[in-house]
């Protein structure tokens, strides 16, 4: 497996809207992120709201400009490209959005929604486009007879299937899924997650799967990166993240997932407070004001120094705490 996507030190900053009697400021939504994704692999990106998950997604499809850093797709640098330069990569990186109601044009039929991307990228002959669209409808579990209907005639789960089919029409290598099942009921959510899994095997697609729901990420992704205030605090293979999380923030996130089988026995260790503003991230380790392990690090280094990058096999995380000295979470 070769690296399909390589993100190095990516930063995306926004000017904060002016506020009365306050100096102008910069929101550091993404502030030095590294991510790697191999062909056919799925990488989960988790974190609280404001951690920068969606900003990364939008930057990868060119909806947002990177302030600094590098994004390489299959070896080619994407940052700094203008719209024309970006165009060929748009086909290769597709996106599925969270809201299946807002992301489909209500005035287009399903068939036209599915053939339009092929027209734009001049793929296939016109007659074949229609056939391919019908094939994909079938592949996502919708009856091809529905091709002439409009989005409002479908349920949320069915619309999300249409959005997935649309992403697949142009044979992407990478599909970015931004909370694709958060708006769906749990019975339907399972249908869509299983579908994403099948399609991945069938078409060898890589997913960057963004979600706030760790159980959902676990069911689909082989690797997981955890974001906090615009930085990756831990990246590791699925089993390591969920069974032996190393960063105190990852541990707290996992402990906070409500779980019917665990609830009665032992209440989770809770994180206090809320993430600080990305306008003025805390110095040192960005997580230190909420970190339950801070007291274990001498000299209050957490508040003063950037935490070092630690590695152990395929896992990498940034924390001042020496491995092995943390109490079991």
């Amino acid at each position: 497996m070769s690296a399909l996507l390589e993100i190095r030190d990516l930063a995306v900053h926004f000017p904060r809207p002016r506020r009365w009697r306050e100096p102008p400021a910069v929101v550091r939504a993404v502030d030095g992120v590294d991510l790697d994704l191999r062909r056919g692999e799925s990488l989960g990106l988790v974190g609280e709201s404001g951690s920068g998950k969606s900003t990364i997604a939008r930057t990868l499809v060119g909806l947002q400009r990177a302030t600094a850093g590098s994004i390489r797709l299959d070896g080619s640098e994407l940052t700094g490209l203008d719209a024309r330069g970006w165009f060929p990569f748009r086909r290769r990186v597709q996106m599925v959005f969270q809201d299946p109601y807002g992301s489909l044009d209500p005035r287009q039929t399903v068939l036209s929604i599915l053939t339009e991307p092929m027209e734009i990228h001049a793929l296939r002959k016109p007659r074949e486009r229609r056939l391919h669209a019908l094939e994909l409808l079938e592949a996502v579990g919708l009856n091809p007879h529905y091709a002439n209907r409009y989005p409002h005639e479908f349920s949320g789960g069915q619309r999300q299937r249409i959005a997935i089919a649309r992403a697949l029409t142009v044979h992407p290598e990478l599909v970015i899924c931004d909370e694709p099942v958060s708006a769906l009921d749990v019975s339907v959510q399972a249908q869509v997650l299983n579908l994403l899994r099948e399609l991945q095997e069938r078409y060898d697609i890589a997913y960057l799967f963004i979600s706030h729901d760790l159980a959902v990420v676990r069911s689909l992704c082989q690797r997981v990166s955890v974001l906090y205030l615009g930085r990756v605090v831990e990246s590791a293979p699925r089993d390591e993240i969920f069974e032996a999380p190393r960063h105190p923030y990852t541990q707290a996130l996992i402990a906070a997932v409500p779980d019917p089988t665990r609830a009665a026995a032992h209440p989770p260790v809770l994180l206090e407070g809320e993430p600080p503003s990305p306008t003025r991230p805390p110095p040192g380790c960005r997580f230190h004001p909420r970190c339950p392990a801070r007291a274990l690090v001498p000299d209050d280094r957490c508040a003063r120094e950037e935490p070092p990058l630690r590695t152990d096999g395929a896992a990498r995380w940034t924390c001042h705490l020496e491995p092995g000295s943390a109490p079991e979470a």
Binding site: E48, V186, S187, Q189, A255, A256, P258, D259, E274
Partner: protein
């Protein structure tokens, strides 16, 4: 009699195009100091039930065909608007899903809290300020006095939901209705708010109706859970028992479809095929029949009664497990062949 009794509630929504049968014989009760989780998928009627219990169903289009919502001996369905206004916010209070739109953006948090006390209890401004500050302190604001002077947009999402909970508890309501109160929050804040609910419940002892689509959340805060499907309650049980053994195929399906942190990953999830019906007609049989793997002949044309069941040979029989399913024995056997179910002859609600 329980503090809160909802009996045989039938609600339709009538529009010129169609009639939607939103609630169909909804019956449950909540004792003082207990939390009942109302769980189901979108469109199943859980929020309609919550709104009916606050007297907030707008008519038209809502038509209450029959039914009672009795809180501490008084039937809200029989009250006029003026009388309801005295009940809402005082005896029955709501914590809404989205605290951002539930607060008035142009009034300070303090003004919105004290108004409740001025209207319902006739307090003067200063006394109301004291009570409001105390309520904010109780939900975890260290700087409660200061928060009184802030506007809602100056608070973060988690703080707004705390302030909302403080507002709902101001008059010590007998019944607190929480409609998906943590759905808009991050998982870490959700955990904080759920813990707050448990603490407040211990202290205040109100009855709580907790509406949620998330079984995990229900497991964290609820003593009992009622599962709704297509406007009906299809199963109810003490929380731990429900998660140990589901008797309705829909409950079992929900539990199996849910991705979990402790289940093997490789076999994928077990979705429920099909989708929730649109309730344009009342099915003669079980509303779940189209999606059900256990369905047999009678399920299609006879309405399964909401019956009390007991598990043979265990003390669990006393906890009032109810399920509306002809095939409950098979559903149970599919999970645990050793379980023996018996319909319980005793009529009526929760046995003492």
């Amino acid at each position: 009699m329980a503090l809160v009794e909802v009996r045989n509630l039938w609600v339709d929504f009538e529009t010129p195009e169609a009639t939607v049968h939103a609630l169909d014989e909804v019956t449950f009760s909540i004792e003082r100091g207990r939390t009942l989780g109302l769980v189901g998928e979108s469109g199943c009627g859980k929020s309609v039930t919550a709104r009916a219990m606050l007297g907030l169903l707008r008519s038209p289009p809502a038509v209450v065909r029959t039914g009672q919502v009795v809180v501490d001996g008084r039937d809200l369905m029989a009250m006029g608007e003026a009388e309801l206004r005295g009940v809402r916010g005082r005896e029955v209070a709501l914590v809404p899903q989205d605290p951002t739109t539930a607060f008035h953006p142009l009034l300070t948090v303090g003004r919105q809290l004290t108004e409740v006390l001025e209207v319902h209890e006739g307090l003067r401004r200063r006394a109301a300020d004291d009570r409001a500050a105390a309520a904010l302190a109780e939900v975890g604001f260290g700087d409660a006095r200061d928060v009184l002077h802030r506007y809602p947009h100056e608070l973060s999402g988690g703080m707004r939901q705390r302030a909302m909970i403080a507002m709902a508890l101001l008059c010590r309501p007998k019944l607190l209705i929480a409609d998906e109160p943590t759905t808009a929050l991050d998982v870490t804040l959700q955990a904080q708010i759920l813990r707050l609910f448990r603490e407040l419940q211990d202290r205040h002892g109100s009855a709580v109706l907790f509406v949620t689509h998330d079984l995990g959340v229900a497991a964290e805060v609820c003593d009992d859970v009622a599962v709704m499907y297509a406007g009906r309650i299809v199963e109810s049980a003490p929380t731990r028992e429900l998660f140990a053994l589901a008797l309705h195929p829909f409950t079992r399906g929900l539990l199996r479809a849910r991705p979990r942190l402790d289940a093997p990953v490789d076999q994928g999830l077990a979705p429920i095929p099909g989708r929730h019906p649109e309730l344009l007609e009342r099915p003669p049989g079980c509303p779940f029949v189209e999606r059900c793997e256990f369905a047999l002949g009678p399920c299609h044309d006879q309405r399964p009664p909401f019956e009390l069941w007991s598990l043979a040979g265990t003390a669990r029989a006393l906890h009032g497990r109810r399920v509306a399913c002809f095939e409950a024995r098979q559903v149970a056997a599919a999970q645990d062949p050793a379980v023996e179910l018996r319909p319980q002859s005793a009529p009526g609600g929760r046995p003492a």
